[in-house]
């Protein structure tokens, strides 16, 4: 596939991620922080997020599995996950966390378990999407092309 095609594919794919709500403007902020001196910034931050979220999701699973659930602790974990997902622009994960916190407040175990499942799914989804995006970027650069600038004009 030639570079122009790959670039068009990248544009369409990126656009779809915004339209479908996987990413929000904060992700674009991260892209702007990347330059020739820090060419891997976005991948690095995103990797950190997934390491972080992996641990948090495990902790949440354990916490909700207890006979007597410590909702304060559950909320603390969700708060953390909400924060980091917000910082990388992972909108759907963040929104899930917001709903999750409400359920913690209500001390609704069933609701929390459902939400946990949903958050896990959303993390998985956005991880796959971003991996695809980064792979596209690698291919473009390997072919000697550059990544187009993205504007939120839709």
């Amino acid at each position: 596939m030639e570079v122009g095609q790959m670039q068009r594919q990248w544009i369409d794919y990126t656009r779809s991620l915004f339209i479908e709500g996987f990413l929000d403007a904060q992700f674009l902020q991260l892209e702007q922080l990347q330059d020739d001196n820090n060419p891997d910034f976005v991948v690095e931050v995103v990797s950190l997020f997934f390491q972080d979220s992996h641990k948090l999701l495990n902790d949440l699973t354990v916490a909700l599995d207890q006979k007597s659930v410590d909702f304060k602790m559950v909320d603390a974990h969700v708060h953390q996950l909400k924060g980091s997902s917000s910082s990388i622009g992972a909108q759907r994960v963040k929104n899930c966390c917001i709903a999750f916190r409400n359920l913690c407040e209500e001390q609704n175990i069933d609701g929390c378990l459902k939400c946990l499942h949903q958050v896990k799914q959303e993390c998985c989804l956005v991880k796959n999407k971003l991996e695809t995006l980064f792979r596209l970027e690698q291919q473009i650069m390997a072919a000697g092309g550059s990544i187009p600038l993205m504007e939120l004009s839709f």
Partner: protein
């Protein structure tokens, strides 16, 4: 990573910011935001660490002269942290005769007015609602200068954006600030963005590569055309 500078030593041109946040992701982001805005950054994960670096921790019997603490021009801290909160850190700094002149900025993911008021009353220069953006850091540069190392900071109130709405004078994030429009280059991509079917990129001829998220080495063969931030206004 941490630097110990002489109190009476050379004042470097770059402002030095001490960033405090227990979240690794947020630390990485704030560090980059500050560096790209021409600031020197020291990032720590707790209020205690921050106090230790400054030489203000309780281990010391006095803020003695034989310990040379970190010279900073601004402290930016998360509010919600385990152990010592950003608010506690703020109080400690403002309670110190040596350090109370350093502007302190609080960050929080929660836009809670009483919390904002409390922080400002305690002497915080500004309050940033997360996620932190370049526009927030740009705003901070207004009250960051190496001069604050020697001169007491003017009680400028810190919050641009007048007394709009309840809560008095906070530069709350307006809708326009939540988009990245003002940072993006006005020149559109040189590729026309026609709609192509979203085929899986694995159709391409390249051999399967390892997950990019576990091997973040990218090809640097071609210059990456990204928006270059000049940092300064």
């Amino acid at each position: 990573m941490t630097q110990v500078m002489e109190r009476d030593g050379v004042v470097s041109e770059e402002v030095h910011v001490l960033a405090v946040d227990d979240s690794l992701v947020d630390r990485k982001v704030i560090e980059r935001l500050l560096k790209i805005s021409a600031c020197k950054v020291t990032a720590v994960d707790s209020g205690i660490s921050a106090l230790q670096l400054l030489g203000l921790d309780e281990q010391r019997t006095s803020e003695s002269d034989d310990f040379v603490g970190l010279k900073v021009d601004l402290i930016i801290t998360d509010y919600c942290m385990p152990g010592m909160s950003g608010y506690d850190l703020l109080k400690k700094i403002k309670g110190s005769s040596t350090f109370r002149e350093i502007p302190v900025v609080i960050m929080s993911s929660e836009n809670i007015l009483p919390r904002i008021d409390r922080c400002l009353e305690e002497g915080a220069k500004d309050f940033i609602v997360k996620p932190v953006k370049l526009s927030d850091v740009k705003r901070l540069k207004n009250y960051m200068s190496t001069a604050t190392r020697d001169v007491s900071a003017a009680e400028a109130g810190g919050c641009s954006g007048g007394g709009g709405g309840g809560g008095g004078g906070i530069n709350k994030r307006k809708l326009s600030d939540t988009t990245a429009f003002d940072y993006l280059s006005s020149s559109p991509p040189s590729i026309s963005s026609s709609i192509t079917p979203l085929s899986s990129p694995s159709d391409s001829s390249s051999s399967p590569s390892p997950s990019p998220l576990s091997s973040p080495i990218r090809s640097l063969d071609s210059p990456i055309r990204r928006l270059k931030m000049t940092g300064a206004d």
